[in-house]
């Protein structure tokens, strides 16, 4: 059981019961945030293609991000971080009147971090594990998708997700799929006919790359080497390692700062890793209750 719930799983579709002839290579995303320009075309394309309703037009006061986070009606979210660039700057401060360099004062360089976040389509997906209706399922591409006509909106997947991705849609009866769990489908409908997901298709800088996961992993490795080679030492890969707490992501990222800076958990672990232990504890407690009740009826009558 431990093997199914945790650790590397090279054949997610097969492990979910897809036969050799029906299953397809595992598909996913590699989001290289070092080339993201924060255009939000991915957010728009996703909404348009998937018919995702609006979830408020708010000014959040968080840089250029007025989306906030992933949710039932936000399946791509572009984060904007304004920060001081790491390391010493080689740009000298300039005296504005004379145009000459100011002696001995290095300018503090400012940088933007921009990153398009999405459902991770985990190798070990807690949302899928805990879904009591079987609405969430593993597709032949190894992705994780909600079946809208089956979900009864129990909401269990919401606290189960270690990334806070999936949510129950609200907004009243007029809203499509109101009351049920919603998240990125990795454009299951487009994949089925050999097309690229809408977000990756529209991304103008190829920050969002779509493809065969094994190939994406190699591409991510190569890009990391390239960046480290040019002195961008802070570059790191996220959810790229099949040995991590979720068995690696079906969506992985190249980040320029720690994950939590982007609103991502630094060391996510699928909650069901501990499920066998949880059942064991519950069984012990249940046995304790049964024995306690029996003991309460034993002994002298008073």
């Amino acid at each position: 059981m431990a093997h199914e719930l945790y650790g590397p799983q090279p054949d997610v579709a097969g492990a979910s019961g897809w036969s050799a002839e029906d299953k397809k290579p595992r598909m996913g995303f590699f989001t290289d945030t070092s080339v993201c320009i924060g255009c939000k075309a991915c957010e728009v394309a996703c909404k348009e293609w998937n018919g995702v309703p609006d979830d408020g037009f708010n000014l959040l006061g968080t840089s250029y991000d007025n989306t906030g986070s992933l949710g039932a009606s936000t399946w791509r979210h572009v984060a904007f971080i304004e920060q001081r660039a790491p390391g010493p700057s080689d740009v000298e401060a300039v005296d504005e009147a004379t145009g000459s360099a100011v002696q001995g004062e290095a300018r503090t360089d400012f940088r933007w971090l921009m990153s398009s976040d999405v459902c991770k389509h985990c190798t070990h997906a807690a949302c899928l594990d805990v879904c009591p209706t079987g609405s969430l399922f593993r597709t032949e591409f190894g992705t994780v998708v909600v079946q809208d006509d089956i979900c009864n909106g129990c909401g269990y997947c919401v606290p189960a997700c270690p990334f806070g991705v999936i949510d129950r849609r609200t907004g009243g009866k007029a809203v499509k799929n109101n009351g049920i769990a919603q998240k990125c489908t990795l454009c299951y409908d487009r994949l089925g006919v050999g097309m690229t997901p809408a977000c990756a298709q529209t991304c103008p800088t190829e920050s969002i790359q779509f493809g065969d996961l094994d190939e994406l992993r190699e591409r991510a490795d190569a890009r990391l080497r390239e960046l480290h080679g040019t002195g961008v030492n802070e570059a790191q890969l996220y959810l790229h390692d099949p040995e991590d707490g979720i068995g690696g992501g079906g969506a992985m990222f190249l980040l320029l700062d720690e994950p939590e800076t982007y609103g991502l958990p630094p060391d996510p672990v699928v909650t069901t890793r501990d499920l066998p232990d949880m059942w064991k504890q519950a069984a012990l407690a249940a046995a304790g209750l049964a024995l306690g009740a029996i003991a309460s009826f034993l002994g002298r009558r008073r």
Partner: protein, 304 residues
């Protein structure tokens, strides 16, 4: 308490989503526990010839499981699709397992309660209904401990820090809570000369509940903070006080009808407060990125 810690977040926004569950769910935790404990009490009373306790415990179990089912269906985003729960049986989903446990439990609880009123049945079936009471009640009692304990796994099998980090203790907190609630209810509704087992279940449950909460608070790390803060903190403190008062009342004056009733009410209150307290503490822990980032950073640091 843990001193304030430094951590990075994205504009202080939550990383996790708190469950979308409303107060239906902690109410269900309470009533489900009450139903499980009462089914045990009813079956024991049946076997040891305590007719008043038997009848009232069986009726309590039925009422409590009825409220539970209403709460569970009401909390769904699509209540009309409730039966989709029965499409599959998934060991990896505590909610699926729980639904099957309740589906097995409910009918036997109903049958045991109906056996108390054989005249409700058509005349030829009355004898059959009366005889069905004991096997139905015993079957319900066999399933009851699972009803009372699985809800702990339901909460713990999430990324919600306070619920997940307390997975070792929470089943004991919850069965203790179920035992003291049903014992308290038995003391409230049954005459003192039949309520001895109810008093013992109340005392044992209260002691277990208090001890398990104590252990949970010390072993859940930083995620235990939310059990002391805000609404959850107030409820947890109130719950412990009520439990202690009920425990004391039961032990010292449980054979006095009025003291027994007051102590029973206190224990029911203590159980309910604990359920709501644990629920809100979890919700808070998911809404604050601190409880996600800090323990995970410590885990990463511990590996390198």
């Amino acid at each position: 308490m843990v001193p304030d810690v430094e951590f990075t977040s994205y504009y202080g926004r939550p990383i996790l989503k708190p469950s979308p569950w409303a107060e239906d769910i902690p109410a269900y935790l309470f009533f489900g526990g009450l139903a499980g404990g009462s089914a045990l009490l009813g079956a024991g009373a049946d076997l040891t010839d305590r007719p008043v306790l038997r009848r009232r415990a069986r009726l309590t179990a039925l009422g409590a499981i009825g409220v539970s089912l209403v709460a569970l269906v009401h909390d769904l985003g699509r209540p009309a699709r409730f039966l989709n729960m029965l499409r599959v049986a998934k060991p990896t989903s505590p909610m699926s397992i729980g639904t099957w446990i309740l589906s097995a439990f409910g009918p036997f609880v109903g049958l045991a309660a109906a056996a108390e009123f054989p005249r409700l049945a058509p005349r030829p079936l009355r004898g059959l209904l009366r005889r069905a009471g004991r096997p139905a009640g015993l079957t319900a009692a066999v399933i009851a401990p699972a009803v009372a304990s699985y809800t702990a796994v339901l909460l713990s099998d999430t990324a919600t820090p306070t619920w997940h980090e307390s997975y070792r203790e929470l089943p004991f907190v919850f069965v203790g809570s179920a035992s003291m609630a049903s014992g308290g209810m038995g003391m409230l509704v049954a005459p003192v000369d039949e309520a001895g087992p109810a008093r013992r279940m109340a005392v044992g449950g209260a002691l277990l509940d208090l001890a398990a909460i104590q252990k949970m608070e010390s072993s859940a790390g930083i995620a235990a903070e939310t059990l002391h803060k805000g609404r959850a903190g107030v409820l947890m403190r109130l719950g412990k006080s009520l439990t202690a008062a009920g425990l004391l009342g039961t032990a010292l004056g449980g054979r006095d009808r009025r003291v027994a009733a007051a102590a029973g009410l206190a224990l029911l209150g203590g159980s309910a407060c604990g359920r709501f307290g644990v629920f809100y503490a979890g919700q808070e822990s998911a809404a604050d990125p601190k409880y996600t980032v800090v323990p995970q950073r410590e885990r990463v640091a511990g590996r390198s």
